[in-house]
């Protein structure tokens, strides 16, 4: 249940898997993403509402075949250059994309977590998103006759999230902005959670989401595992790291240098920060 991060990734993430590393600005599982790069995983379908710099890094490192997302950018800074290079130039390999809105993605996870094949929402109508994917459709309400948008359930092979704490049985506790983490864990076949710390008792915290150990495949203790994003109550977001990424991500050479020194050249335990 409690495993080192490298073992967790090795056991639960495989080439070709659909993998969702979620985190809505907060608690982004960055260390887990770097371990995926380090292990050289390939042909992943990466899923995330808000792919930011860790997805840029995984795409640039060649892990991804496809990206399912609703907002891909470097928050507060600008574009993701590895993402753009993959889409526009196929470097280092072509990247297929499937694009949604936040409401659409959130409802896809909800349907996935709920064990139903689709969800309905008031969304997408009139937009050009509809023409770009078969994963947006309509259904007619059997009571009112109204036509309404439908999106299919999203059930990743693996969900990876970061949380503040877990206990020794693998119950996981997170708080602050908790995004879609509960939904993605419940929607996925397997779930790997990195945490700031493992404790004896999870004292209740206002606003907490608790993920019972039954729905968690493994927990890895990775202090700082969300850096440069933040962990509410533990450390703040490093805005300079997001700003610095712009120059690194913009240039293939610079990026590869970064990969060598910051990912491939580091052991799991010294990689934070």
């Amino acid at each position: 249940m409690i495993v080192p991060l490298d073992e967790g990734i090795r056991e639960f993430v495989h080439d070709g898997d659909t993998v969702a590393l979620e985190g809505f600005t907060h608690l982004i599982p960055v260390a887990a993403g770097h371990e995926i790069i380090r292990q050289g995983l390939r042909d992943l379908t990466l899923v995330r509402m808000t792919p930011d710099i860790v997805y840029d890094q995984m795409i640039g490192a060649g892990c991804a075949r496809k990206l399912i997302f609703s907002w891909g950018g470097n928050p507060g800074v600008g574009s993701l250059h590895r993402f753009r290079d993959a889409i526009q130039n196929g470097w280092p390999r072509p990247l297929e994309i499937e694009e949604h809105s936040h409401a659409g993605m959130a409802n896809r996870y909800v349907a996935g977590a709920s064990g139903v094949p689709f969800a309905v929402l008031r969304g997408y109508t009139g937009t050009d998103l509809i023409a770009q994917t078969s994963q947006i459709a309509t259904v007619t309400c059997p009571f009112t006759g109204e036509e309404i948008t439908a999106v299919p359930a999203l059930n990743p092979d693996v969900a990876i999230v970061h949380a503040q704490r877990a206990d020794r049985s693998g119950n996981v506790q997170l708080w602050g902005i908790t995004g879609v983490q509960k939904e993605v864990v419940l929607a996925a076949e397997r779930a790997l959670v990195t945490v700031e710390e493992i404790v004896d008792n999870l004292d209740p915290v206002p606003g907490q989401v608790l993920l019972p150990s039954r729905v968690v495949s493994a927990v890895a203790e990775v202090p700082g595992g969300a850096r440069p994003s933040y962990a509410h109550g533990y450390y703040a977001r490093s805005n300079p790291a997001y700003q610095d990424w712009d120059a690194i991500g913009r240039d293939r050479e610079e990026f590869q240098r970064w990969l060598r020194t910051e990912v491939y050249g580091t052991a799991r335990t010294t990689r934070e920060g």
Binding site: T25, A103, N107, T125, I177
Partner: protein, 251 residues
């Protein structure tokens, strides 16, 4: 009256802030919208109820957040809910009075593009971040206010990609599409204020900022811009508005 020095961006932000009233609920996008909403709260709209799409309801940050999910938003919120909940229970049923959006491109009918520019979708000239929460904010808020710097490159006759529907192809389109909100009611730029014509829904210049000419606004618009018979001149930023705005943006 002293003459205050201010920038065009400050004029834009203050004008946007003035569109909000103290009893409104506002769905706030990051960047210019967030700045404007936070100015409003600190000036004439202390009761403004701000929602960010990360799930923070009724938040009141003591400094400007840099992302829609900063810790300060959670710490100062009435409550923090999940992302599915903020979209399904709060935005979708039309509980939010005003959605505050930015744009990479906006067209004659206030349709918004934040997806791709140039080329086609699969081989674009510029790949932008994409939709985020904008399509449903544009669809489901009671009204939408857009804040965007004006240039002929941004204000185009027809957007390359409709990420978020404004008034579609004109009057009646929102109703036909079943969109519940009224759509964009104001577009506030660094040059002036545009509003949809009540009958055609085409964006019309209704106000120019002090020192800006109508011709300058026309030149910064990629279509033959309709202008109100007697466009107003926007009130200059007041001293309090400017000092609040500057204390926010310098922090």
């Amino acid at each position: 009256m002293t003459t205050l020095q201010y920038t065009a961006d400050e004029m834009m932000t203050v004008t946007a802030a003035r569109s909000l009233t103290t009893d409104m609920a506002c769905f706030v996008g990051i960047g210019l919208p967030s700045t404007a909403a936070n100015v409003a709260v600190r000036t004439h709209a202390p009761g403004l109820w701000m929602i960010y799409e990360s799930g923070t309801l009724g938040t009141n940050p003591d400094s400007l957040p840099l992302s829609i999910g900063d810790g300060i938003l959670a710490e100062t919120a009435d409550t923090v809910v999940s992302v599915p909940e903020v979209f399904n229970y709060w935005l979708q049923p039309g509980r939010i009075d005003v959605g505050f959006l930015g744009a990479a491109q906006i067209d004659r009918y206030a349709n918004i593009n934040t997806t791709v520019i140039g080329g086609d979708y699969s081989d674009p000239k510029v790949r932008l971040p994409g939709a985020g929460g904008a399509p449903e904010i544009a669809a489901n808020c009671k009204e939408v206010i857009v804040i965007v710097r004006q240039s002929a490159r941004t204000f185009v006759d027809s957007v390359d990609f409709v990420t978020s529907v404004g008034h579609g192809k004109g009057a009646g389109d929102r109703e036909r599409l079943g969109l519940t909100g009224r759509g964009p009611t104001r577009v506030i730029t660094d040059l002036g204020v545009l509003e949809p014509d009540p009958s055609t829904r085409e964006l019309t210049l209704v106000s120019v900022h002090p020192g800006v000419t109508v011709d300058e606004v026309r030149a910064a618009t990629g279509w033959d811009l309709r202008v109100a018979a007697e466009p107003e001149t926007t009130d200059e930023p007041g001293e309090k508005e400017l000092s609040v705005l500057r204390s926010l943006t310098s922090s």
